[in-house]
Amino acid sequence: MSTYLIEHRSSHRGQVARGTTYLRALLTPRDGGGQRLHDAELHVSPDPAETSVYRDFDGNRITHVDVPAPYEELELRARSTVTVTRRAADPAHLPVLAWEQVVAAVRQIRATGRGEHGEGMAAVIAIVEGAHPSALVPAPSDDALRLLPPGTPLVALLAGLAEQMSTAIRRSPTSVGADRALREGVGSIQDLAHLMCSLARGAGLSARYVAGYRYEPGVDGAHAWAAVWLPGGGWLHIDPASGAFIDDRYVVLGWGRDAVDVSPVRGVQLTAGGPVTRTDHVTLTPVSAPAGSAG
């Protein structure tokens, strides 16, 4: 179990003289699923004209902000305290199902809307959505699908794929696309997560893109990985960048079909102003759990 103080700063600089800037921010981690959100606050400067919070289709907590000009710097500062109790997925405690069996289960849910384990409608919709292609997750090539050894249990398959990706793909600071990352052996964290989704969906599994944070001393905490659905086992969060299932060093910010759905800050300025540059910075500081929150 670990508790972190997470500070996520997103700053936009530029001479904006008039008009309004509209922002859609995903800067508050999800509550539940092996993590507990104690408190979260979001400061926006200059003062916004309008702030409201809603949950998107996937249940992520979105803050909508309108900021009036003029400004030279628009800054969003999110602070949250999260206790993570999750342990890495343990194959010994999970259903042993060959991935082809999982594909069959997903196919049945897609055609009929009914699962074997009494999945509710929200769960069914999430599984169906995770099985669909999306803009940043292309269908994999037939060659890529040969990376999936027939008959392998899903848990072992994911562990094996993540292990291969973490060692075989060199990390680049900017994304090149999931398919190129596989072909050329170079890709960003985002590419790896998209690649994992791409292989899973290409095989007929259901997969999510997960944006979040990862604690590693001295390193920016921004991170992303994938989650794949296992009947009776839920969503297995697998990090292809480190080659392992996630544990209490990870904090889930939000999930969606791909990185576009869970971009921390999206914005449009209604203005006649000039160009704007953006920088993001994330720090995770281990702290002791707030009183009364243990367990």
């Binding site: 309004t20 800037t21 289709f57 055609a111 809307g113 409608m121 600071p173 914005g267 300025q269």
Partner: protein, 737 residues
């Protein structure tokens, strides 16, 4: 029966609207064709030409020319039969509306036994961003269309539901106006239900839904394929026609910019696909940032509601009968053409096995369908592979052998399969159907798909039995008062170029035969004057952009102007004054007329200064003559009796720059309230100073006038070019890196 009709009947179309009509409807067909006198030699060709001419003179020309011809002969449907179809269609629309509320709300209908979730989740028309948005009014669909055809067994079937941005309402009314004019004797001979009340009800319904705030119609703008349809609909509904840049979200409310004061929009009827409505949450590049969130917070209603295109997924047709029983506890009355969803394994096998005789449709909104029988063996194999790769995205539909209607090719009548797009508008009491619609006949290929790009349009007449009765005139809708700055700029431009062209014409006439070096000759040859063709082009552009504000009478004149440009001839002297006259007298007083007049005054002031700067001292007196004011008294003016002083600052001469500027000021005040015009004050000061000086008219007049001309040009730029705030996406930094 006439010989043409005899031949048509003998040719033997087995399944024909006219030949199978009975009773009163048969009588109506006979009256329509009889009064049209189609047997007279060349009559059908004459009708076709008359239709084309009527379309052109109504502005359906140039970039706004529809891609399909309009057939002179309408589709005639008897009232009892129509009423049954309308009731069935209304039930279908109620069902679709209820479905929409569920899909973006509780989603109780998704799941085993009702609707497979993948049909919704996998539908490109499903907008996750619209999830949870509620609509305070009674319906989510304000107005929707259904493409229907009559099957071989005589029953009507729905081919496609049109629920996103509805297309064709404006064209349906245009077609009616044109055919009612071309076939006037036929139109009078039968009792045809009028379309006007439908638009009036839709207007009332939108007005009530957004009260106390006003409704507006969002269009993609003059360059878009739907520009004419949108402008016509805005005119019919009496709504301001607005573009992205006219709108702004503030405090989660939607505001429409106006030259006077901005107005709040209660209902935004969208003429654009939902995906193009908000660059923040939907597709970047188009739309009003913050609109989706404003709808989410209840600050504005978007109609049809965002994400309504999900209902256009043909896969839904498979499940509608079941959903109708579940939602409404009754049978679906207007059934769909038999449709198989490939996401279901058994149905997928059926579709692939029968691919050569089915219409294959994608879940993508607006996909018209692929006719399996037109594909080669290789193409079928390729399509089968695409279906197998993404089965949920495809459906197969049984082709419908649509009933035929007599349609002219100019010389004779052919039996052409006919599809109707019928429209329903929501009201408190349910959906009301437009009595008529957009008929389309297709090349006879054995099966109707959705309305294709090819084919011929037809008017649809719903006829009541009994004698013709006088129908009350359409109720006039309240005049629009909101004038978006973009539209004001268009009207100013119209006025400016009309006046500029008129002056140019006059100078060219005067220059004809004038001595070289004389003022008219020098003016006619200066490049600063610009060309008539350029003026004419600008007039066309701005007239189209402001279409919904302009009286219908201008379009025949605009068309003549367009022909003159196309033929590279100089627009005739008659065209421009006719247009100017129409705009000066037929535009409403609510700021529109003043905007055109202001443009004219500005052009006059600029033009006179240009002429003066080219004139010699003798030329100045000539200029007064040229400007049609030879009798202007010049005595007793400040700055002596010099013509330059008269031209600049006479209070009495109708052609003085001073009078033009005063006129400009007064008209702008009418347009915009008390907009401060520091630039105009500057020009005033400069010219007054110049006029008061005794040496005015010396050889360096051109130089002295330069600052005034320069400022006036600057004023023109600031008035005529409306510069809106533009939406620009903030940089998308990759995260995490």
């Amino acid at each position: 029966m006439s010989s043409l009709l005899d031949r048509y009947a003998a040719h033997g179309p087995g399944h024909d609207e006219m030949l199978q009509a009975a009773g009163a409807t048969r009588t109506a067909w006979q009256r329509v064709t009889g009064h049209a006198g189609i047997d007279a030699p060349g009559q059908l060709a004459r009708y076709r030409r008359a239709v084309d001419a009527a379309r052109r003179s109504r502005g359906l020309a140039g970039p706004d020319a529809p891609p399909w011809p309009l057939d002179p002969l309408p589709v005639v449907i008897g009232a009892p039969e129509w009423d049954a179809l309308a009731a069935a269609a209304a039930q279908r629309l109620e069902l679709l509306d209820a479905l929409l509320a569920d899909l973006y709300g509780p989603r109780r209908l998704l799941g085993p036994g009702s609707l497979p979730p993948e049909i919704v989740i996998g539908s490109p028309g499903f907008l996750r961003e619209a999830d949870g948005i509620t609509q305070p009014g009674h319906h989510r669909l304000a107005v929707a269309g259904i493409d229907v055809a009559r099957n071989a067994d005589g029953s009507w079937v729905a081919l496609t539901d049109r629920t996103d941005a509805v297309r064709g309402l404006g064209h349906a009314m245009e077609n009616r106006r044109i055919i009612a004019e071309v076939l006037a004797p036929s139109y009078r001979a039968v009792r045809v239900r009028r379309l006007g009340p439908f638009f009036h009800e839709l207007h009332t319904s939108l007005q009530e839904a957004g009260a106390p705030h006003r409704p507006a119609l969002l269009t993609a703008g003059p360059g878009s394929p739907a520009a004419f349809d949108d402008a016509a609909l805005a005119g019919l509904l009496g709504l301001p026609l607005v573009q992205d840049e006219d709108l702004e979200v503030q405090d989660n409310q939607l505001w429409l910019a106006s030259v006077r004061e901005r107005t709040r929009v209660g209902v935004l009827l969208r003429g654009v696909p939902a995906r193009d409505c908000d660059p923040l949450e939907l597709r970047p590049g188009r739309g009003v940032p913050g609109l989706v969130h404003a709808a989410r917070r209840g600050g504005v209603q978007v109609a049809n509601s965002l994400g309504s295109a999900v209902l256009e997924n043909p896969a839904l047709l498979t499940y509608l009968p079941r959903l109708c029983r579940e939602v409404r506890g009754e049978e679906l009355q207007l059934t769909s053409a038999a449709t198989y969803w490939c996401g279901d394994r058994a149905m997928c096998s059926h579709v692939i096995a029968n691919i050569g005789r089915l219409v294959i449709k994608s879940a993508r909104p607006g996909h018209g369908g692929i006719k399996g029988w037109e594909l080669s063996i290789d193409q079928r194999a390729e399509l089968s592979a695409r279906i197998a790769a993404q089965p949920w995205a495809w459906s197969g539909q049984e082709p419908v052998r649509a009933s035929t209607t007599p349609t002219t090719d100019g010389t004779t009548l052919t039996a052409a399969p006919t599809v109707l797009r019928i429209f329903g508008a929501a009201s408190q009491t349910g959906f009301h159907l437009m009595p008529g619609g957009l008929g389309r006949v297709l090349p006879d290929d054995g099966g109707a798909t959705a309305l294709p790009r090819e084919g011929t349009a037809k008017d649809v007449w719903v006829v009541a039995p009994g004698p013709t009765e006088d129908t009350p005139p359409d109720v006039a809708l309240p005049a629009r008062s909101v004038l978006p700055p973009r539209t004001a700029a268009n009207l100013l431009q119209l006025g400016w170029h009309l006046e500029h062209a008129a002056r140019t014409l006059r100078i060219q006439q005067a220059a004809d035969g004038a001595a070289p070096g004389s003022l008219p000759a020098r003016l006619a040859s200066t490049e600063e004057l610009g060309t008539l063709t350029e003026d004419a082009r600008q007039i066309l552009t701005h007239a189209r952009a402001a279409r919904s504000e302009l009286p219908a009478e201008i379009w025949p004149v605009v068309f003549r102007l367009e022909q003159a440009i196309a033929a590279a001839t100089v627009p005739t002297a008659a065209t421009l004054p006719a247009l100017a006259e129409l705009l000066a007298h037929r535009l409403p007083h609510n700021g529109r007329r003043a905007a055109v007049a202001a443009g004219g005054e500005l052009a006059r002031a600029e033009h006179t200064l240009l002429a003066m700067s080219l004139a010699t001292e003798q030329g100045l007196a000539q200029l007064l003559t040229l400007l049609d004011a030879p009798d202007t008294p010049t005595a007793g003016l400040p700055g002596a009796d010099h013509p330059a002083a008269t031209l600049l600052w006479s209070e009495t001469s109708p052609v003085s720059v001073r009078r033009h500027l005063a006129g400009l000021r007064a008209h702008l005040a009418t347009v915009s309230g008390d907009q401060a015009l520091p630039l105009l004050d500057d020009v005033d000061d400069l010219l007054e100073e110049l006029a008061a000086r005794h040496e005015v008219g010396l050889s360096n007049l051109a130089e002295e006038l330069t600052p005034g001309r320069w400022r006036l040009a600057e004023l023109r730029r600031s008035l005529l070019s409306h510069v809106p705030l533009r939406a620009a996406g903030l940089p998308e930094e990759e995260w995490p890196t």
